[in-house]
Amino acid sequence: MSGASHFVEVRNLSRRFDVSKPWLNRLIEGGGRRYVEAVRDVSFDVDKGETFALVGESGSGKSTVARMLVGLMSPDRGSVTIDGTSITGEASRSEQRALRRRMQMIFQDPYASLNPRWRVGRIIAEPMLALKVVPSSADAASETARLLTLVGMSAGDMRRYPHEFSGGQRQRIAIARALAARAEFIVCDEPTSALDVSVQAQILNLMRDLQQELGLTYVLISHNLAVVRHMAGRIGVMHAGRLVEVQPARQLFVSPQHDYTRMLIGSVPQMSSAMRRASSTRGAPCP
């Protein structure tokens, strides 16, 4: 696999966390340092305009990969290269700064990711001004209005505070903020798991529409296999810090290769199981 052909290239990413006891306890009780290998030797590529998903259960390391992808956390080993520029060290500060503008992250909890003391207008305008994508704050305001309409809200919502909005609306605001810096690459860490299903459908549809309109590249982190299958072109399955399998989305569910993937798919509650159970031998429950 040669260098510049993929938009995002992740190579041999590893990260461990120190979970040792405090030094005094180690001194008294003995025992050395202990580490958790959160991510071990993970490599994958993402093409421009594609949605690549990482699924796994809690503790599988998927969120740690997400954080390393956008530079919120540095890897112990391995590299992340986006559009030819490495975010893990070698590139110059100005190159990294230019790159940071092009990538953004959407978090799981829309209640925690928006500053409650800022009006929505300021929340969305801030990355534009900080990364100098617009020349003046007047331009930032008109751009904010455009973005709010783009994500299905109204320009007047600029003057309101986050607490005035529902979870789904807040996630729309978070998406508008991610787009404010003209990001091309968005890492979404469980973007809909705090939302109700009908609202989840609204947000997933919005994410797809924006991808088609703006040519966005997504890395979607989720524990929900159905969401991932609906959204992603390719899926990587993580288990205990390792990427155990990468396959095209439809293919993964037809012919999962790894035992863990098979177990994961098998345990998802399915709507159709109601019909299967009804027609099985178990009779009427009530006498």
Partner: protein, 326 residues
């Protein structure tokens, strides 16, 4: 048909505030029979958890049960005194909550939890209580139960803790267990095990379960019947297989179509426009009409009641031959 274990009729729960009166539940009626799992599904704020809390008389003040009746094995329990209700809780109705860690005391061993509860409800001696605790843990699938009695809650995984909470709920062989989002905090593989456990207990002990969840897939795997709630009302109730295959209420149809599936492909998910009304702005007529494509003048002015043939009933003017509320 035998008498239901739990029978709820026209339950109404109100929350008076300084400005106005919020109605949390309005005209909720249902029965749960022995050995049956009745699922309650709906989005946040639909009133699923309030229904469970009302049955346990655990509505936080100033909220109150303002009307209707709740019968357990034919006896009214909604008017019971505090001490009267304490004899019902745990003994006749068990509870399982979403977060197993907050339902367990971190300073008590699992053995203390179980033997105390068994002692209070069944009046067994220490040795008999301990034996029962071991057999309960064994039943819910905790390996080496006799040794684990000395362990504290933090020494168990999330799934094991939820099994322990289920064992606690079953201590006194209650006729009914109310499980409020029992698997929401758990991974899917563990969730599947808890679902299997609930089904098995239901089939072997004849325990009736009231299963509250936002997850339609969980309902499909576990429940016999399902009640779909919206803005404090039951909008559709019936056998799970019927409702999943032929949802009648436009809200149920939208809810099911909004779920991405592992089995079918769709370019776009169906989305229900707007959001559920807040309790301070419940619309007149059918509560769903502002979001409904089929709504007409009747829907805007008259409230539909649950109606329909057999045990599949729907509160909708447009899809059922509804009788009209006065």
């Amino acid at each position: 048909m035998a008498d239901p274990v739990l029978s709820v009729r026209d339950l109404r729960v109100e929350f008076p505030t300084r400005r106005d009166l919020l109605v949390g539940l309005d005209g909720v009626s249902f029965d749960i029979h022995q050995g049956e799992v009745l699922g309650f599904v709906g989005e946040s704020g639909a009133g699923k958890s309030i229904t469970g809390a009302a049955i346990m008389q655990q509505i936080a003040a100033p909220g109150r049960i303002a009307g209707g009746e709740i019968r357990l094995n034919g006896q009214r329990i909604d008017k019971l005194s505090r001490t009267g209700m304490e004899r019902i809780r745990g003994r006749h109705i068990g509870m399982v909550f979403q977060d197993p860690l907050t339902s367990l005391n971190p300073l008590m061993t699992i053995g203390d939890h179980l033997t105390e509860t068994i002692g209070v409800h069944l009046g067994l001696g220490r040795r008999a209580a301990r034996d029962r605790a071991v057999s309960l843990l064994e039943e819910v699938g905790i390996p080496e139960p006799a040794e684990r009695l000395r362990s504290y809650p933090h020494e168990f995984s999330g799934g094991q803790r939820q099994r322990i909470v289920i064992a606690l709920a079953l201590c006194a062989e209650p006729e009914l267990v109310i499980a409020d989002e029992p698997t929401t905090a758990l991974d899917v593989s563990v969730q599947a095990q808890i679902i299997a456990l609930i089904r098995r207990l239901c089939d072997t002990h004849g325990t009736a379960f009231m299963l509250i969840t936002h997850d339609m897939g969980m309902i499909a795997e576990t429940a016999d019947r399902v009640a779909v709630m919206y803005a404090g009302r039951v909008v559709e109730i019936g056998r799970v297989a019927d409702i999943v295959a032929h949802p009648a209420h436009p809200y149920t149809q939208g809810l099911i179509a909004a779920i991405p599936s592992l089995e079918t492909d769709a370019e776009r998910l169906r989305q229900i426009p707007g959001a559920m009304p807040s309790l301070s702005a419940i619309p007149d007529g059918c509560v769903f009409h502002p979001r409904c494509e089929l709504a007409d003048d009747l829907c805007r002015t008259r409230r539909p009641v649950l109606a329909g043939e057999g045990d599949h009933r729907t509160a909708c003017h447009r899809t059922a031959q509804a009788e009209y509320a006065p």
